[in-house]
Amino acid sequence: MGDIDLIFKIAGVGILVAAAHWVLKSSGKEDYAFITTVGGVAVVLVWVIQQLGTLFDQVKSVFKLF
């Protein structure tokens, strides 16, 4: 249960990005709003892919899938 932080991190980034998107959009900066969304998605994607990599390594070693 060591990495439950990741869930809260992802949710936090999601809420933050949603808020930033809304603020930027309502002040007329549509392109910045889009860049913010893409940046947030990229950051979270890196975390999730690292975690998926550990999962696949563990599955490979448990089920001897080489």
């Binding site: 992802i10 949603a18 999730v48 550990t54 563990q58 599955v59």
Partner: protein, 128 residues
């Protein structure tokens, strides 16, 4: 009481995902992937213990390790493919999910071919 931890994790993640799905659906997908990976990792240790027991039993029964290894590989492919296809289906990509399941079926079939051949060979030996 690991189940309480698991249910708590699931409920917290569900609430967060419902909050996020409203205006950032991609983050909700990331959240569900992350929870799935976490629960899978939590259970993988137990699966490993069960597999160790199975290996010991098969060694005692003088079974060939080739067959048990094949079965383990098939179970692993099934678990991983199911994980991936469920996530794709959750995100609304039913077509990709079906393709993942199709690929898993083909891979399992490829792994099972040597066993089928062995069964047929022993059958041919029995028939005069």
């Amino acid at each position: 009481m690991e189940i309480i931890q698991i249910v708590g994790l699931g409920i917290v993640a569900t609430v967060l995902a419902v909050v996020l799905r409203h205006n950032k659906p991609e983050m909700a997908v990331f959240l569900s992937i992350s929870v799935g990976v976490m629960l899978f990792l939590l259970m993988l240790g137990k699966i490993g213990a069960v597999i160790d027991v199975l290996k010991e039993l098969s060694a005692r029964a003088n079974l060939s390790m080739v067959y048990l290894g094949t079965i383990l590989k098939i179970v692993g492919i099934a678990y991983v493919a199911d994980f991936g296809s469920q996530i794709c289906r959750d995100a609304g990509e039913g077509a990709v999910a079906s393709k993942i399941e199709f690929a898993a079926k083909i891979l399992v079939l490829v792994l099972a071919v040597p066993i089928v051949v062995a069964v047929l060979n022993s059958l041919l030996k029995l028939v005069p």
